[in-house]
Subunit: 352 residues, 2 copies
């Protein structure tokens, strides 16, 4: 078998991963063989991880962040549920999330043995605080808000959800895996400064332009991170809070390098380009008579017949539908205006 030359992003429109920034790629290549899971053996990459967590704190409004560079948003969501479960007294824990939550919360529920309660969202596709509050009870250990939903890029009312969580003695987790690197340039209230957020997931390998795997898991309080620690014989460090053991030094180094290069002007410029592209492609579909969910962040969902999507896929476009079957276009950094123009030309061709 021959290895394909490499991954091409030329026609990828529905992934939340992207081509890494050149500085991130360079750093990843230099740390391919290191393991931040063993910080005494690999001190260089461990120091980079400390810097990366500090930068994630800058981006999310947390001056003294605890956390680490995780494998991605799924790990951050599992860890948030695990920490909340471990800190709570109940034997029958539940987590309350909007139905727009990423499917990794289903995985977290299965893995961790907690009940997942999903609340219907409001007409604006954001979490409905009243519907959430109705599902919360004494056994609720965690309330989840999404800052940039996977399907529609919506931002939940985080301050209201924080109130609901804390009134019930639960923690509040914000899933900003995709949104975290664009929300600083919007007026949304989503971060540790805006509300009493306890834990957050924010992925450098999505809009942060790091190489996979580079997620971020942050906690406001040290005791919440400590609730995840297990003892580590064989290693010089004495405990480990991460979900995996050996971890990717490439991911850690590239997360640091991307944030060092791009925070904050580079990310602002990318957000503006991506948002303009999202509005452009939304207009293009709208002017052709399609129903378009307006992009409040750089992510567009469009009601397109299945056969049209399949015809576009046959032309090599990597597009995938939402749960309701809508065509979903994520305006990641690798998605250029020229690429979208080519896509619309193909759209017109397959409709003809």
């Amino acid at each position: 078998m021959q290895v394909a030359a490499s991954q091409s992003f030329r026609r990828v429109l529905s992934s939340m991963c992207t081509e890494p920034h050149p500085a991130a790629r360079d750093a990843a290549e230099r740390f391919l063989a290191s393991n931040p899971g063993d910080p005494t053996t690999y001190p260089s990459v461990s120091a980079l991880e400390d810097e990366a967590v500090s930068l994630l704190g800058d981006i999310t409004g947390l001056s003294n962040p605890h956390g680490y560079v995780a494998s991605g948003g799924t790990e951050a969501n599992i860890q948030a549920v695990r920490a909340a479960r471990n800190l709570a007294a109940t034997d029958d824990p539940n987590v309350v999330a909007p139905e727009s939550a990423h499917f990794s919360f289903q995985k977290a529920a299965d893995v961790l043995g907690v009940e997942l309660r999903l609340a219907a969202v409001a007409d604006d596709r954001r979490a409905d605080p009243d519907a959430m509050a109705e599902l919360v009870d004494d056994d609720t250990v965690l309330v989840v808000g999404i800052a940039g939903t996977t399907e529609y890029g919506r931002v939940d009312p985080i301050p209201a959800l924080a109130d609901i969580a804390h009134d019930a003695g639960a923690l509040l987790h914000v899933d900003a895996a995709w949104g975290g690197f664009v929300l600083p340039f919007t007026d949304y209230e989503w971060n540790f400064e805006h509300a009493a957020v306890d834990t957050m997931g924010i992925d450098p390998h999505k809009m942060g332009q790091a190489a996979v795997p580079a997620g971020g898991f942050l906690t406001r309080e040290k005791r919440v991170l400590d609730a995840l620690a297990v003892e580590t014989p064989y290693l010089e460090s004495t405990s480990q809070a991460t979900l995996t053991g050996t971890r990717s030094g490439a991911g850690v180094a590239s997360a640091w390098a991307a944030m060092d290069a791009l925070w904050r002007d580079g990310y602002r410029e990318q957000f503006e380009r991506s948002q303009a592209n999202a509005e452009w492609i939304a207009d293009a579909f709208d002017s052709r008579g399609y129903d378009v969910v307006d992009p409040v962040l750089p992510l567009v969902a469009i009601d397109v017949p299945r056969e049209t999507v399949e015809a576009l896929q046959e032309r090599g476009w990597r597009v995938s539908p939402t749960g309701s079957g809508e065509l979903r276009i994520v305006c990641m950094p690798h998605v250029t205006r020229a690429m979208l123009e080519e896509f619309v030309a193909d759209l017109d061709a397959v409709r003809a």
Copy 2:
């Protein structure tokens, strides 16, 4: 902050990771931006993963393997416990393992809410089937055997442990994370062909010379892998059995490339070099009057005073102790005879 030039392995003696094979490094660099967690969007790396799993089956004696390239041994151990728990009927599941098991089983127990029962090992530092059998009961969902322990490189009596597991209606998991790429060149009975093994962890990023993160999780039966699946909206594929979501294409591609380049003659040659180095360094310590645990695989533990270890660490050697405080030297591919000679010269210097 300046990024360190790169990770150096020049004085790393206690890590189970190593410098990737050149073909593995090259493949990792070409797939840094891909995500095998989304196989329809990233078909090239997904095809490589199928090939990698097939090669892992060749190495472990399984002609029709199910599984995937995981983040490492910790994930494989968590997933083995999770699958066994999910398939069992009990509300109070327990896992029986030898006390030599890696600490990731403690993590698995915490994450998954199962009881971990650790059996004392025999005088030869291998699992004692009688001690294991005593801990097994109707609520035992998994019995664990280690094929190459982290501290002493010992191989448990896997066929006897398989009998114990299956007599109790439990599954048998073999942790061959470190040993899996050297055991094919020994007479040990450790794999799917030698015994009724149900699941196995075997890490290409350890002795397999792939880039981190590249672990392997294998199951004999499809139903065991399926016990881990959750549904995946947004993705074209309909379910996901992995613990993380987005995964490292670099790890997958480099696992494939390393195995394609090295299985099986390259791995045999490396095993012979590593084993000879382990015996050489064991003799060097033995001739200086130290108590040495003989290396049955390329891993040596030596009873060395703490101050000597610290003096060696001050000279830049990355060495870490076992749980009992012994100096531990893992003869990974990057550990050369010249490096060990330099280490012994430093040993003599700090003892002088």
